[in-house]
Amino acid sequence: MSDSLLVVDDVSLSFGGVRALAGVSLEVRAGEILALIGPNGAGKTTLFNVISGVFRPARGDVRFLGRSIVRAAPHRIARAGIARTYQVVRPFGRLTVVDNVAVGALLHEPTIARARRDAREIVGFVGLDAYADRPAASLTLTQRKRLEVARALALRPKLLLLDEVMAGLTPTEMDGMAEFVLRLHERGIAAVAGVEHVMRLIMRISDRIVVLDAGKLIAQGTPEQIRRDPAVIEAYLGAPLGDG
């Protein structure tokens, strides 16, 4: 446990009688890629919202680098080193692509000129150079997904929460995103990738997989273990795993 970056400890949260999360516990180790898999409504986005401080759980604790962050404001959690993307992309539409990224870069670069320089570099890293000075509202969905990641990277996080970054992408684009996640890995940034389906791609890039279903953690382990887990097969109604 000594190298665990994030510990989610028995977290529960309900919305008007619906159990969104029921006693979920998991850990993320430094530098690893953890896939968080579960069907639509399993609680992946809710868990991301709890970790990033958008929601406060009814019960349980979240610790990052050994310190409880469960009561901290979102900007404090961002400063501590956790960045996230949103499943439904949410660019600051009227700001330019560079300024979208510069908002996060201000965390480490106090002046706007330096934050913008930093942002420009990250915009290049995700391949949006050509759109750097356009309003974010003019981007396509794929480009917006990249912008989400760029904004998160500007925080120089130790842990990146990726909420459905694969959704809506073509197979080629998914390969690109997978490459990108692996590059994070090389930089020592841990990632939790929330995805709906157990894709071969996810199997290939993740170190470990956690499976959520109806707010409960039903399985965790290496991709090989998950592939054979009866509870996981049950949750996906016997759908062939590892395809698609």
Binding site: G53, A73, H75, P91, L95, D99, L107, A115
Partner: protein, 305 residues
């Protein structure tokens, strides 16, 4: 990047406004004063409503508060008017901090209506105080020079434009615009949204608070309807909207255009000028929904291509 032309223009404009009271008659000075006042109020409103996106219908409360604070300090405690007017700004800020802490939890129409209600409440409370002459108002010494009120307001208007110019280019301004676009996302990107909103709200109270003292001197008679004036509030908001919300030059351009149209119409069609004016505003806003300045900069950008 040096841009000598705009700087030279600004210097000439300020110099002309400084010299104006020496050359022009009382009517024109009064017109200039009321224009400067509305423009400066519009700049105050633009910070919280334009940059931070919190649309307020209650900033006039800070104006009235500044006017009453100045009036009382000058009348009852014999303060120098400059100090009293500065104190008016201080009082406005002192109210803005707790008020903002509560009100900025509301969003959208709830914040707008909440601020409207707060302004009414502040008005009732201030005028209920025996010291402020209750509903009857406060008479100040009539020896105040209108030029003093004029220069005070000119200085604050220039200061408000300079402040907005800075905000527009600063990290603070970028944080405000980010939270205007999406407050939750701004928070998870490390923006302390509460702090940024509070700072914008306090600056948006400071400007009308300082202007209120000048207005008290200008009127030499303070009464609730005059200083908690919904007309003045609305007028400045319309100026900002017409010129372009959340832009550096919008409130100034909107203010100048509105005053010019209003004066021209008033002189030619005294009976029905408000009707024509209202109709014209509707047409302008239908044609330029985001205001004059954004429309012009879009046009310029397209020309350049």
């Amino acid at each position: 990047m040096r841009r000598p032309l705009p700087i030279a223009l600004a210097v000439v404009a300020i110099a002309l406004l400084v010299l104006a009271p020496l050359a022009l008659n009382g009517y024109v000075i009064n017109l200039l004063y009321t224009t400067l006042l509305s423009v400066a109020l519009a700049y105050g409103w633009n910070l919280i409503s334009g940059y931070a996106g919190y649309f307020s219908f209650g900033q006039i409360a800070f104006f009235g508060l500044g006017a009453y604070a100045t009036g009382l300090l000058v009348k009852d405690l014999n303060w120098e008017w400059v100090l009293a007017a500065l104190a008016g700004g201080g009082v406005a800020c002192a109210l803005a901090v707790p008020l903002g802490y509560v009100m900025l939890r509301l969003r959208g129409p709830f914040f707008a209506m909440g601020m409207f209600g707060m302004a009414q409440l502040v008005r009732v409370l201030v005028t209920a105080l025996p010291a402020s002459g209750a509903g009857a108002g406060l008479y100040l010494s009539p020896d105040f020079n209108v030029a003093d009120a004029y220069y005070w307001t000119l200085a604050i208007a220039v200061g408000a434009i300079a402040l907005t110019f800075w905000v527009d280019r600063s990290a603070f301004g970028l944080r405000l615009q980010a939270l205007r676009e999406d407050e939750q996302v701004a928070g998870t990107l490390g923006v302390d949204v509460t702090r940024a909103k509070m700072a914008a709200f306090t600056l948006s109270a400071l400007i009308p608070g300082l202007l209120g003292g000048g207005y008290a001197l200008f009127l030499t008679y303070i009464e609730p309807d005059a200083v908690f004036s919904s007309r003045l509030d609305l007028q400045s908001i319309v100026m900002a909207i017409l010129g372009g919300v959340g832009t550096v030059w919008g409130p100034l351009v909107g203010g100048v255009v509105m005053t010019q149209i209003s004066e021209a119409l008033w002189a030619r069609f005294p009976e029905i000028y408000l009707m024509i004016f209202g109709g014209l505003l509707v047409v302008l806003l239908l044609l330029l929904p985001r205001g004059i300045v954004p429309a012009l900069s879009k046009l310029l950008a397209e020309r350049r291509r």
